[in-house]
């Protein structure tokens, strides 16, 4: 064992700076929050230990469960559509077309803008007299109160999120696509594979590691959706767009720090399990 540690020394040295930063600025605060999740704490008076009461209260609260439902919808819808759009755009952008630079920039542009700004603009676009209803009117389609209808509000916010976020997936997929050797495609064609077969047997396997990365990061990110909700709907109408992190921030503002921390830890557990499963079953053996 000691020999393995000695042999591993370079590795330890190289990760040391990262370890220091991560421990001091993330793991320590996380540990403190973990403790607070087991307490009743308003940030000012000393925390009072209450065990798992916060967790039990949250899991028994229909309003909280509704936020979980909304969040799951957000994640499923986002992760079903986003990577598809990302992959699709990457394939398009991989072709040699004129003004490729312009198109690539156009696709990546939304990702460069802060989500809060994007949400602010889209909120205006969704208004009754906003651009989206205007455009629909041009095609003779009826407008709609997108953000004021409990049925359409959450999908509308998800659309905004996808719009802003899939540029990231596009860029990552584009790189991965360009990394698949031409020879592999040529070999497949020689074997008589058509476009779809090539996609299934050359492209997808070549993208496997990328897809895993995209899904792990994407799921972790969309489970924590907050900014767009805060700007666009504040969780309304009714409870239809209230997400888990929105509830967390609300509790934090009410100085219910114990419960807010409990929400964070439940999120951590869910995401840890999901990530572990993904890494285990879809990652490649080392």
């Amino acid at each position: 064992m000691v020999r393995r540690i000695r042999a591993g020394l370079p590795g330890y040295v190289l990760v040391a700076p990262a370890v220091v930063v991560t421990v001091v600025f993330f793991l320590v605060p996380m540990a403190v929050s973990g403790y607070w999740s087991l307490t009743d704490y308003n940030g000012i008076k000393p925390p009072v230990f209450v065990g798992l009461d916060n967790y039990a209260a949250l899991l028994g609260d229909p309003r909280f469960l509704r936020t979980v439902q909304n969040t799951v919808f957000f994640v499923v819808m986002g992760m079903a559509i986003g990577p598809l759009l990302g992959l699709g755009s990457a394939i398009l952008l991989n072709e040699s077309v004129h003004l490729r630079a312009f198109f690539r920039t156009a696709f990546f542009l939304p990702t460069m803008v802060a989500l809060v700004a994007v949400a602010t603009v889209w909120k205006m676009l969704y208004q009754d007299q906003g651009l989206i209803n205007d455009l629909l009117g041009l095609f003779g389609l009826p407008g709609h109160a997108w953000l004021n209808d409990p049925t359409t509000a959450l999908p509308a916010v998800v659309v905004t999120s996808i719009w802003q976020g899939f540029g990231f997936e596009t860029v990552v997929f584009l790189a991965a696509l360009q990394a698949i050797p031409r020879e592999t495609y040529d070999a497949a064609k020689v074997d008589g594979a058509g476009a779809w077969a090539q996609f299934r047997h050359v492209t997808l396997p070549g993208l496997r590691a990328t897809i895993l990365f995209i899904y792990i990061i994407g799921i972790i990110g969309s489970f924590q959706a907050f900014d767009q909700i805060f700007v666009m709907t504040q969780g309304r109408p009714g409870l239809s767009t209230r997400t888990v992190v929105y509830e967390l921030v609300d509790e934090f503002q009410r100085l219910d720090i114990g419960s807010a921390s409990a929400i964070a830890y439940m999120l951590l557990i869910v995401l840890a399990v999901l990530s572990f499963v993904q890494l285990r079953f879809f990652g490649e053996r080392d």
């Binding site: 009754d128 004021n148 409990p150 921030v249 609300d250 009410r254 100085l255």
Partner: protein, 463 residues
Amino acid sequence: MIRRMRPIAVLVATTILLAGCSGSASPAPSSAASAGPSVAASAVPSVEGSAAPAESADPSASLDTTPVTLTVWDYYGMEVTPFTEAAIAAFQQEYPWITVDRQDLDWDTFLDKFNVAVSSGQGPDVATLDMTWIPTLASNDVLLDLKALSGGMLNGTPITDQYAPGPVEAMTYGDAYVTMMNDFDAYALYYRSDLFEQKGIPVPTTWDELRSAAKKLAEDSNGDGKLDKYLYAVRPNTFHFSQVLFQNGGELLNPEGTKATFNSDAGVGALDYQVGLIQDGSGLYWSDADGDLPPALVDGRVAMFSDGPYYMGLLRSGVPDQSGKWKIATAPYSKQPGSYLGGTGLSIPASAAHQEAAWLFVQYFLRPEQQVLVYTVTGAAPATTAALESPELTQPDPYFGGQAPFKVFLDTMATATHFPYVAAWSEVDTIISENLDAALLGKTDSRAALDEAAVASDAALAK
């Protein structure tokens, strides 16, 4: 439930204290924390209304004059803050040992930053707080008791003499004053007087009259059978619901603050009234997601709505072309006049380092001539009575057809009630707002919506 301090008694006590304190040594330098009435009594003896240093005693004689830097967190907005550079300079001249560090903060994120800072002992000395935050902050002992700090006196006169009873109530938590109201918010009826005249609609004073006025006002501009112009904006939030609730004789919570009472018959009737406006077609569901009203006022979708004094400024800047076409009236009511009372208060966190200096600052900016800036610079309604009666605020306003609108708001403030100061109020507020949506959007009836809100609220209150 109005508790009045007995002014005479306080005045007598103060006189005795002042007499006894002349020339005595100042309180311990870093005392602030447990400063008793003696500090207040010897502090700022300037007579109310005077901007010059006190005529009576030299203010610095019995004050701690070690140089301090006072941190003030201000969400009013850089250019419209009543804490103007000139005013602060004048304050620093009057109290030369105090340097003011005023920091602009954004209202949306103010509470986040405030909570983090205060809970880490790094809070400001003075903070502008939205009155809707008071329940949470006061019930968590975040705010300093200003009654103890001041002895009930503001600039030499009892606090209760300078504010109407409503604001005094709103500043009170238990036995303490947790904030000094700087500006107030209470709702009156804004209406397109030109259209009312044109269509021969009388200004409504009751709910039924408002409903019929709305019907006469609204038009179907594109012939599709739906009214879409000159509508009344119905807002689905607790502020507006509580207005109609109070007008209908209802209450939000029971007196102990342990149970929801807004789902009483009065509450259901109030919500039915709002739903009715929407069902008539002459009411427009206007959510917070829809943003501010001016865009809808510009194109005429909305021609009538209820809101507070600050909307006067929004109209002036956002709908300049309609100057002279608007008027403000007392909100129509069913049983009694009523409104939610909100606004901004100036508070001193309990953990503030320089409490005495902070109180000097707060008092200075509550003097009438500073309070007037709340209107002239900020476009909001000052909360102190003296400012509300000053000439700048009682002038006729050309935008509102020569009306002097503050009179209406002054009357409204007299019958306005603040939200209950219970720890769980913020959560209850959210719950009520959420459930209003269901009724106003026609998904469920008013009683069901309010009952559901009541159940969730009771659970929150029980925690």
